[in-house]
């Protein structure tokens, strides 16, 4: 039995796919940016010697790392309006969910990167009169970030694929658009193949760029080993 591939119906709907891709990138980008900022904050809180700061941060991180993202998404989209009267658009719910979720993961990446820097680096910074914050910003984080790039990449890719869940709350992302097209054209194989291909191309381009950056950093900045 031979299947007759026909991509023309998919191509005829390429505008829908493009719009879906833009929406996917919007959610992913927002979650990445907010996730990194929030993740750094969570990591610093978690590393604090004060338990009233580190404990709540650790709790938030663990909750969002261990519960299914779909449940988190439903919780923000369906439960918050009922419980707290907070109505969110699908985009807002998606952005909030994935920002916090990736923050939890990035927090652990940041924490791992920061604690991997030798104590001597803190010593060297403090000995010339730097505050803890200056030492973190000027000495420790630049070195930690370099070590974090592979783990960070891994998370970013995982994040982009996880955002496909937003289709379940009717946010018109790439997968949602693909689903619509396949129902309209009765060409699910072609549609989802094209959708997968788009994910493949975008993510591959993204990781190539990141590898390039990693290489550039390792040339200019030297290795972090003594």
């Amino acid at each position: 039995m031979t299947y007759q591939w026909d991509f023309t119906p998919v191509l005829a709907n390429s505008g829908l796919l493009a719009q879906g891709l833009v929406n996917t990138l919007k959610v992913t980008g927002t979650a990445l940016v907010c996730g990194v900022v929030l993740g750094l904050a969570l990591a610093l809180l978690r590393l604090s010697p004060r338990s009233y700061l580190s404990w709540p941060a650790g709790f938030v991180i663990e909750v969002f790392r261990t519960t299914p993202p779909l449940v988190q998404l439903f919780w923000f989209y369906f439960a918050l309006p009922l419980l707290a009267g907070i109505e969110m658009t699908p985009f807002m719910a998606a952005a909030v969910t994935f920002s916090i979720q990736s923050a939890a993961f990035f927090a652990e990446v940041f924490r791992g990167g920061i604690v991997s820097i030798e104590r001597g680096q803190w010593d060297g910074a403090r000995a010339i009169g730097m505050t803890q914050a200056q030492a973190l910003r000027r000495i420790v984080l630049p070195q930690a970030v370099k070590r974090m790039i592979p783990a960070f990449m891994e998370r970013a890719i995982e994040l982009m694929k996880t955002t496909t869940l937003v289709a379940t709350i009717s946010y018109a992302d790439l997968l949602y658009a693909a689903n619509e097209i396949s129902q309209k054209t009765f060409r699910p194989l072609e549609t989802f193949t094209v959708a997968a291909l788009i994910y493949f191309v975008v993510i591959t381009a993204f990781s190539l760029a990141a590898r390039q950056l990693e290489r550039r950093l390792s040339v200019s900045g030297e290795s972090t080993v003594r």
Partner: protein, 248 residues
């Protein structure tokens, strides 16, 4: 009038009492070599002086003023007390001159040109003007330690702490670092030096302190402590150090 005073200093790590009520006065221009067996608290003493470790009790007095524990106060004190570490602790993501400029730029808020001029001067002082653009990974151990000394000097400290500055170096690189420290000594700088280089201590120090059990066990001129020690433990320590040296 002493520039630095320590009174009743104690520090404990877990179950171990490392410092047990140590007292010390340092006069301007003094060069104090601190000796002691491993675990006797030499490094901890140095690290308590600029509060890299927080003493459990006791006071540190700088220029007659007791140093408090607030960060704002500590960062002032650390700028006045330069420190050089056994492991150099250079910043690997910055060039040699970047390392030396860092404190001037970030802590002192120097304009770039001014920081650069001062850093170049300090690198030249340790004989590394030509290595300004090199990253630490491309420097030898001796060169790294000299950059670290330049980094400390750039802050124009009133006294310098050297924590086993040559212990991590290959033997053939020890001389260049000791040479730089020697120059600083000849300039009349006040310094405290934890070292195992007894010969260097003998020739450069104005006073030698032997630590044992977290207090000063014996102290005096280099001749008194290193050549004519009166205490049994000092003798035993010196004997163990001389056992394999050629001069005996």
């Amino acid at each position: 009038m002493s520039i630095l005073g320590v009174s009743g200093l104690t520090k404990r790590f877990g179950q171990a009492d490392v410092l047990r009520g140590l007292d010390l006065e340092v006069a301007p221009g003094e060069r104090i070599a601190i000796l002691g067996a491993s675990g006797s608290g030499k490094s901890t003493l140095l690290r308590c002086l600029n509060f890299m470790e927080m003493p459990d009790s006791g006071t540190v007095t700088l220029d007659g003023k007791i140093v408090g524990r607030r960060e704002s106060e500590l960062i002032q004190v650390r700028q006045r007390i330069g420190m050089v570490f056994q492991q150099f602790n250079l910043f690997p993501h910055m060039t040699a001159i970047g390392n030396v400029m860092e404190g001037l730029r970030t802590v002192r808020r120097f304009p770039k040109a001014e920081a650069q001029a001062r850093a170049e001067k300090e690198l030249a002082r340790v004989g590394l003007a030509d290595k300004a653009a090199s990253y630490p990974a491309h420097l030898s151990g001796g060169q790294k330690q000299r950059v670290a000394i330049a980094r400390a000097l750039a802050m124009e400290p009133e006294l310098m702490l050297f924590d086993e500055p040559t212990s991590a170096l290959d033997p053939e690189l020890v001389g260049e670092v000791l040479g730089v420290i020697r120059t600083l000594a000849d300039e009349g700088r006040t310094m405290l030096l934890v070292t195992h280089e007894l010969g260097f201590a003998y020739h450069v120090a104005t006073r030698v302190i032997f630590l044992a059990d977290g207090v000063i066990h014996e102290e005096g001129t280099p001749d008194q402590v290193l050549v004519h020690p009166t205490k049994e433990r000092t003798r035993a320590f010196l004997a163990s150090h001389k056992e394999y040296s050629l001069q005996g």
